[in-house]
Structure formats: C-alpha cells, structure tokens
Point group: C2
Amino acid sequence: MNNQITLRQKTVVISADSREEREETLAIEVPYTIALNDEKIGASMVLATGLEEFGAGFLFGQGYITKPGQVREVLVCPEGRISVHADVEEGSEPKEVIVTSGCGGTGKISKEMLEGAFDPLNECSISLDEVSQFIREMLQQSPLGPLTHCIHGCGLWADGRLQGFYEDVGRHNAVDKIIGAILMGKIPATGAVYTTGRLTSDMVLKCARIGIPIVLSRTSPSSLGLAIARRAGVTLAGYARPGRLNVFNAPERIIC
Amino acid sequence: MNNQITLRQKTVVISADSREEREETLAIEVPYTIALNDEKIGASMVLATGLEEFGAGFLFGQGYITKPGQVREVLVCPEGRISVHADVEEGSEPKEVIVTSGCGGTGKISKEMLEGAFDPLNECSISLDEVSQFIREMLQQSPLGPLTHCIHGCGLWADGRLQGFYEDVGRHNAVDKIIGAILMGKIPATGAVYTTGRLTSDMVLKCARIGIPIVLSRTSPSSLGLAIARRAGVTLAGYARPGRLNVFNAPERIIC
C-alpha cells in the first residue's frame, strides 16, 4: 500500500511586487471503498492513515455497526478497499439518510438516528488542566495540520491521558477513526473527544451514540449540533484552547 | 418558511480563574430534501439561504443536471423540500459515487466525473487588484462567517465585479449555490470563484465541469484538488488574501 500522505508541490506566490517560487505541502486524499461482510456500502476520500479504524467508524456513522464487540476483522487492500467483517443484525442499514453539512467524509446520517433516543452516556468529568494538556498533546502529534492547512485532527482523552489521535482530510473521517478505534476495542468509549473541526449535527451524533459524554472543538458548534448535545446530555464546548473553553451545554462535567 | 439562519445562545466561558456567562451566535443548519422532477434524489443539511440555487447546484454536483438551460423551475417548500424541475436526459444519474472529504454538504461525486475528460473552460484572466477587491467585497458581505465560525462563503467575480455571493454551513453547499446560480442564468459561467473552504477534489471538479477557469481559496487545495485542476487546466490558487495569492496551477491567468 502506498502510505504517502503528503506531497511537496512547487507553487508561485504572486504579490504586487513579485512572483516567487515556493514549495507547499499538500495532503493526499485517496478514494477508498468500504465493504461490510463483502458487500460494498460506500466510498470515501480519505487520508490514508488509520484505515482499519476508519472502515469500522464509517459503518458506525452510517448506522450499520452499532456497538463495540461487533467488529470481527478489518482488512485493508492496497487497491483502495477496506473490508470490515462484523456481526451485525439483518436489516441494520439506515432507512432514510441525510447528507450532512460541514467538513467531512462520510457526511450521511439517518433520519432515524437524528430523531431517536439516546442510551445513557459513559459518565466522567475532566479538569481544565486536563483539557489544556489534551489540546497541547494533540497539537504536538499533528505537525501536518499547520503544514498543509488541509487536515483535521481528532483525539480521545480518558483516564488522565491521550488515548488515541487520528488525522484526515475530513473532520468527519477523523472522528470516524476515533469511533472505529473504540469499536475495535483499542480505546475506551468514555472521556472527552476533541476535534479541530466544527461540531455540526453528525459530529455530535456519532459521539453521543457511542456514549462519549464530553465533546470539545477548536471551533464552533452549529444549532443542530447543540440540539443533539442537549437531547443526549453531552457536554459540548467550543473555542477550546489550553486554559479556556466555551461551554454550550452541560458545563458540570468540566471541573476546576 | 422560517428564514432565521442564526440563533443566540447562552454559554459559559470557563478559564482557570472564572466561569463567565456569554452569548454566542450559532449558525442554524436545517435538513432539506432535494427532488428532481418529483423524484427524491437526496437530502442535505443547509443554511437556509439561496435554497433554489442550492437545489440546482446539488443536482449538478451529483451529475443529474449538466449544463445551464436545463433548469425550468425550482420550488422551495416550507416543510424542507426543494423541488427542481429540469430537462435532463434519461439515465443521467451517476453510476458509482464516492463520498468526498472536506467540509461540505453534498459530499458525493461520481467516479465517472472524477476520471472523465473536461470541456474547454470559459477563458478569462483576473488582475491581482481585482482579486484583492473580490476578497474584500466578499468579507464585507459575510458578517456571519467571523461571528459564528461555522459558515463558509463562496463568491463569483467576472467582468470586473462581484456577480454573486452565497454562504452555507458546508463549503460544498456554498459552492453548490454559486453553481446553481450559474445554472439558473443569474450569473455567468466564467471568471473566478473564491471559497473560504479547502479545495478538495469535488470542489475543484464542480467548478471545472461548469467551465470556471479560476478557482481561489482562503486556504489550501488537497492533492486531488490540484490533480483535477491540472487535468482541466483550471488556475488554482490557495492562501488568497488581498494583495497576495499562492498559485498551484496555471498562474498565467493572474495578471498584474
């Protein structure tokens, strides 16, 4: 498999006084097909890292996989195919899907999921110091973000440490990789998720469905992202920086 | 129709020393179904502005509508449905779709479109002064962007002036609205498009397919966005600011 995820590209910087050659770093997006039990479900443009997790998380986002323990095996083929084998119920596919807004790969949620009830979250709290450390560690692990301006990061913090961190060209995909890691038993389904992307409906929905009680973003939620957080009881915070965050719902899980 | 596109929301800003109440402005995303000749094609989360244009542009992005002159009528129903009536060929639906990366609503392109040939672009050039004026006018028309941190803008500049400008929670949707305005004969299919979002594959693909020769972004292209620009001959520039832009392909259309 070609694991190259960036490429260098000559560009011309044009300003009033000059035309100057420069090199920029670009994120490589590649198409991958996702199959569940040998049946093709969809295809997505991705950054070719954490592809096993992505495959599992993609199928969770679409409503096929619903909980940890269902994924048996994930195979990534060099030709651009992620084959997930999982114990899912017959007829688990979503009935009516909505293409979602915002910067992300999967971009589809079912109407059912949007309107249904939520199971209780896997309760926990986080201190402001932990939030600061979480964000700092994520920034350290993500040199590609500021270099390419084309990559979103998503991490999970639980039990006092950064449990997992993934990147993608889409903010949805980066969250899917975290969700996939939970489904595959690599990281726990509790704690706080931090994303560099906006918290639109489907971003919050995925976290709420898997039981994550705290969802943080470098930037803002949308109205529907907030509405879902309220319904599910998720702590939702935006504009999160080391030492500061702006809580839109359930601030009691942020302790000082 | 409820035309409210933002709402005010009380939040709690938590920092080391204080918990302070504040009000933030959120972008409202709402689900809309898009139908072509009374057949439902898809549904998308959108910012409820320029919905007629969005409907037409969405169907172009998905490959159903292919050129200006095909759209006969677009009706927006308050219940969340955009009905496009258009003269399209039988069997115009895409064969194999790929869910795309990046911040946007439609997020699907056909494999066919990704690999097919392009018609010649509607040739033009733009001066650096015009680029500067273009960006400044767009910023003036977009108070919601910096206010909500959740809205992307997309504009079209041709014949020395800003021809159209749209906003959405998704960068794809904002481009779709511009494309829709072209399809509906409101703005010309030439000049320069400027987007606040990243130039991933489908963003560049839509512009190239409709014949736009110059595509500018506040931020960066992805590898595949650049590859499509090269194949189609589109001028692709990132990190565009008044007085400066970084050209990744075909700089000859930027004149000083």
